[in-house]
Symmetry: C2
Subunit: 220 residues, 2 copies
């Protein structure tokens, strides 16, 4: 599969010229971020919960406490998961042409619980290694109780669309001559210097896996 | 009113110790961001759409094309609007204690369309001035057609809760002695130098309203 098929659901968003359905765009955006917003329904009422997530093949994963009502309500239910990366503020010569540059993905599916402990462990390891490559082996090993207390959901990406805006503002033809500044302010996520836990018991160097977090969309 | 009343809906999220219901926390987080995720339901299927938004008193506003199915589906319907600001990556000594520092708000209400042109104009002006203080008067004036082609929704904040995590990791008591680095990597939004539209017709200085975007949660 190289593209997702546009469906009634994934066409919900206006401006079809910004829509993309190719797997490369969808996966590329999914892999560039690590916070998503999960939409689910309880008794006709929509809920939107932010959470960390990760992708493996054509599935996305997220997790939380086994007591989480959000996870429980999303299990075996229709879910929309949206990821948004803001890239810039687009400033036009006319207020209504102001816009934003962004990459976003909306995916639809029906999450199920990871029931098998080995699968759960593999999934969690992948999550940690995706955030902090090379860290897993050095951590205090996972206990059986931790596995038990954690719910991991995974969802096959059944329908997906990306939406991307790039470039300068699009003003009305006759407005380009006006003496009004227009352009783009680039926006990105940034991380600061790691702050050691005050309770750190040893004089430990900051680990290598924190040297470069660009895979998380964060510049230094 | 100084606090929102916790309800079944706003208690959906686990970890009640991180929950806040005071108006100051809820409005503070709403006013520190400018992208939200709106959840709405079409035929039992949840959708989550990212959009710019702004607050005025106890209402939030957002807007889009009058042809937007997302806006149309949210009108007079149950909506959940969520705002999430990531503040840090929390790295623990054990994988399952990894976390994130964040501020988020989940609000519930039933948006309606702004029908009155004057109200719509006021709302849009407020939106622009909130993003770019002092810019409005210098822009090419809004036309009647632009007003007509734009749908503005506003929603009374009927129920709301904030959820906030701050501080270092919380590890198991016996793990603090381990020689494993733990701490927090601060995360924030940043903006780069403004890039003028290549079609800028005059030699215009970068406007003052772009000098400081900290009100948008963006550091330079």
């Amino acid at each position: 599969m190289t593209t997702f098929t546009p469906t009634e659901k994934t066409r919900v968003r206006r401006l079809p010229d910004r829509a993309r359905y190719d797997v490369e765009s969808v996966y590329g955006i999914l892999d560039s971020a690590f916070i998503c917003h999960v939409g689910y329904v309880i008794d006709g009422q929509p809920f939107v919960t932010p959470t960390a997530y990760w992708r493996e093949g054509d599935h996305v994963y997220w997790h939380g406490s086994h007591a989480s009502r959000a996870l429980d309500s999303a299990t075996n239910a229709k879910v929309c998961l949206t990821v948004t990366q803001l890239d810039g503020l687009v400033i036009a010569r006319a207020a209504f042409h102001h816009s934003m540059n962004y990459r976003s993905v909306m995916i639809f599916g029906t999450p199920v619980k990871v029931e098998d402990d080995e699968h759960k462990m593999r999934a969690m390891r992948r999550f940690v290694e995706r955030m902090y490559p090379g860290q897993w082996e050095g951590l205090r090993p996972v206990t059986r109780n931790e596995l038990k207390a954690t719910t991991v959901l995974y969802m096959k990406i059944e329908e997906a669309s990306a939406k991307v805006r790039t470039g300068p503002p699009k003003d009305d033809a006759e407005d380009y001559e006006l003496p009004i500044w227009a352009g783009v302010v680039p926006v990105e996520g940034a991380h600061g210097a790691p702050v050691a836990d005050p309770r750190l018991a040893h004089d430990l160097a900051i680990p290598d896996y924190l040297a470069n977090l660009s895979h998380l969309g964060l510049k230094k």
